[in-house]
């Protein structure tokens, strides 16, 4: 869980640097409440780094983004809340960058080549763990790419929620009807009781369910329900009398 201390957007080298001098001016102004204390003359992470150069050459910018991408994809499983949406977006971004690089005919960095050796454990024949460093030719790029795409299955495949826990979580239908008191006033309870196969509980076998459906549709529920509703109205009136007494 993220700590609840203020999180600023730590300056990524690619981002436009807003005037860092602004930080010092925040002292004594309207917004200088304790919450903004980090804005008061505290040097931004970016300033501590080497050169805050917003205009890195494009290939280096791209490389940085790709490195981040791979990093995030690989740490997907370690997250407390794995997200298929996030993984798909990351994979798409990565794929797009790879395509761009392929079109330019540039080589791939070692980081990409070493993309998911751990994940591709059932290794494809073309996966070679011992890749030479600093590859600069397209052939290697082609070889490295399949190992990345074979990761997709492993990355995307882990998001399925299996139904193994259903037996642990089914609400016991009996619990709901234990309390007799609540059944008096509500017509919807009645309809549930009348058609027991439609009760809460997802474990109902399909045949039961079908019977239930047939019963539901064939016995013109509106008239049955009307009848029960008028019964309940009478009951209501009786209760009124009793309460007043």
């Amino acid at each position: 869980m993220r700590r609840n201390s203020a999180v600023r957007a730590s300056m990524c080298r690619l981002d436009v640097e807003s005037a860092v001098k602004e930080v010092g001016q925040s002292i004594g102004d309207v917004l200088s409440s304790p919450r903004y204390v980090l804005g008061r003359g505290v040097k931004r992470k970016l300033v501590d780094c080497e050169d805050p150069v917003p205009d890195l050459p494009y290939p280096l910018q791209r490389q940085l983004v790709m490195d981040l991408c791979l990093d995030k994809l690989q740490s997907c499983h370690r997250r407390s809340e794995p997200s298929l949406h996030r993984s798909v977006l990351l994979a798409n971004t990565l794929r797009q960058l790879q395509q761009e690089m392929r079109q330019e005919g540039g080589g791939l960095s070692p980081t990409l080549a070493a993309a998911c050796p751990a994940h591709a454990a059932p290794a494809t024949p073309r996966h070679t763990p011992d890749l030479p460093p600093v590859p600069s030719d397209c052939v290697l790029a082609e070889e490295a790419l399949p190992s990345l795409t074979s990761c997709h299955d492993l990355i995307f495949g882990s998001f399925e929620i299996t139904n193994s826990t259903s037996y642990l979580t089914d609400l016991a239908p009996d619990d709901i009807f234990d309390d007799i008191d609540t059944s008096m006033y509500d017509p919807s309870d009645f309809s549930v009781l009348a058609f027991p196969s439609l009760r809460v509980g997802s474990g109902a076998p399909s045949t039961n369910g079908e019977e239930g459906l047939k019963t539901f549709s064939s016995c013109s529920p509106s008239s049955a329900l009307q009848h029960r509703l008028s019964d309940l109205n009478d009951l209501d009136q009786i209760m009124e009398i009793l309460v007043r007494s």
């Binding site: 990524c12 439609l198 109902a204 309460v243």
Partner: protein, 448 residues
């Protein structure tokens, strides 16, 4: 309908109430994950990461003073979902409530649907103000009486008691989703509802829990080919055969259930071509739609992507009719936001009662009101500092660069941990509920 005529900017917003712990130490379970008014606006439900639902009720206004403020007080609290463990995958299934949707009221009880990643539950919230007394076989405390001591018979009577609000689960809709549920939407027929996960949308009947119909399935035969997921889905407010779903690629598909059982072919596809001048490494990520909402009229729909809100006319597919920038000053910070994962935050959006103003959240506990009729917008803040009773909220301004004026806050000073993802607008009045991490703020229109 009082107050809905005024646009968002003629309206001055005042602090009304704040719910939740005051201290800055946020317990993870208290993080609010969804906020929803019911159809009359009398009830306001919140869900949190700990699987609890808290419902607030609006106090009936003082009839002598029609303009007096009404307050929301706790009406019911219950544990909706519990954490589960998937033994096969060794994954915990979170109990976090992803969405709450109210059913229109049909009798004295209230019903709502709440969902976590896997299971949807129908809850009945009912009031009890009478209690039976005078049983023959039981004592008042419930113990059974010795039958040999019973010499007379009496008729049990109902006696008034202190109001008790009970929540009970009436239906559990489970085991229909392999992927994480992101949306539920009740149909205008009041009999069915849809639930959407990353790859599929299912149609349910409210009475039937052991089966559902799959109406959209975008899972590719080969998962390696997966490039797009479903991010949100909603039924049309009046046409029970129509629903929309949005995707991570920034498209919205409108489907007609009369066309076929499996709505894999859309009736309409809403997509705006990308602006080439804004192209960046993150173009696709920021185009992912995080929320889609129909207007109350049913004529328009609104989508929220990372930087903007778009209003679409259902009759025009090739571009939105209106586009509003929520926090354009973040465009130059996308890499940092990508680094710290904020770029994946999913903001919601909402309409006011007469569809003239829309609202959405941002960072630093800011939220934005976008007035469609007057083409104006304002940034407001939900903070403890502006929490004096009936204190009018002052507009906030963010300085994107250059010389920062007085009262402006610079982009670098924004707190990206303080995000407003969930907001809700009362269906009839100018009352809004804004959720910060673990607090719920209620603001009302200033009344003179």
């Amino acid at each position: 309908m009082a107050g809905t005529g005024a646009g968002g900017n003629d309206v001055q917003w005042c602090f009304s109430q704040v719910k939740g712990a005051i201290d800055d130490d946020v317990a993870e379970a208290d993080i609010i994950s969804t906020v929803e008014f019911n159809h009359s606006g009398e009830l306001l439900a919140t869900g949190d990461k700990g699987g609890r639902v808290v419902i607030f009720q609006q106090e009936t206004e003082n009839k002598c003073q029609p303009l007096s403020r009404s307050e929301y007080n706790v009406y019911s609290t219950f544990q909706s979902h519990e954490p589960e463990f998937d033994y096969l995958k060794s994954l915990e299934i979170e109990e976090k409530i992803n969405k709450i949707r109210w059913l229109p009221q049909k009798n004295a009880a209230q019903f709502l649907l709440s969902t976590n990643d896997k299971t949807i539950k129908l809850w009945k919230i009912s009031e009890r103000d009478k209690r039976p007394e005078g049983y023959n076989l039981k004592e008042e405390d419930g113990r059974y009486r010795d039958s040999t001591t019973i010499t007379t018979l009496r008729v049990p009577v109902f006696r008034p008691m202190d109001l008790m609000v009970e929540a009970s689960p009436r239906r559990i809709f489970a085991n229909a989703h392999t992927y994480h549920i992101n949306s539920i939407s009740v149909n205008s027929d009041n009999e069915t509802y849809l639930s959407a996960d990353d790859l599929r949308i299912n149609l349910w009947h409210l009475e039937i829990t052991d089966r559902s119909f799959n109406i959209v399935d975008i899972k590719p035969a080969n998962m390696e080919d997966l490039t797009e997921v479903i991010t949100a889905a909603e039924f049309h407010p009046h046409q029970c055969n129509t629903f929309v779903y949005s995707s991570s690629k920034g498209t919205i598909r409108l489907c007609d259930m009369r066309a076929s059982a499996l709505c894999d072919r859309h009736s309409k596809l809403f997509e705006e071509p990308e602006d080439p001048s804004n192209r960046s490494f993150f173009s696709e990520i920021i185009s992912s739609i995080s929320d889609v909402k129909f207007s109350h009229s049913g004529r328009y729909m609104m989508t929220r992507d990372y930087l903007s809100v778009k209003i679409w006319d259902l009759n025009m597919e090739n571009r939105p009719v209106e586009t509003y920038q929520v926090h354009e000053y973040l465009r130059s910070k996308l890499c940092s936001l990508y680094e710290n994962d904020c770029i994946f935050d999913k903001f919601e959006c909402c309409w006011n009662g007469n569809d003239s103003v829309v609202m959405t959240g941002s960072y630093n506990n800011f939220f934005r009101m976008l007035d469609r009729s007057q083409r104006r917008d304002v940034t407001l803040e939900a903070s403890r500092e502006s929490s004096k009773p009936r204190q009018v909220l002052k507009p906030r301004r963010v300085c994107a660069g250059g010389k920062r004026k007085k009262d402006e806050i610079s982009v670098d000073s924004l707190d990206f941990n303080k995000k407003i993802l969930h907001t809700a607008w009362h269906p009839q009045e100018n009352i809004i509920a804004v959720a910060t991490t673990n607090n719920l703020y209620i603001f009302q229109e200033k009344v003179n």
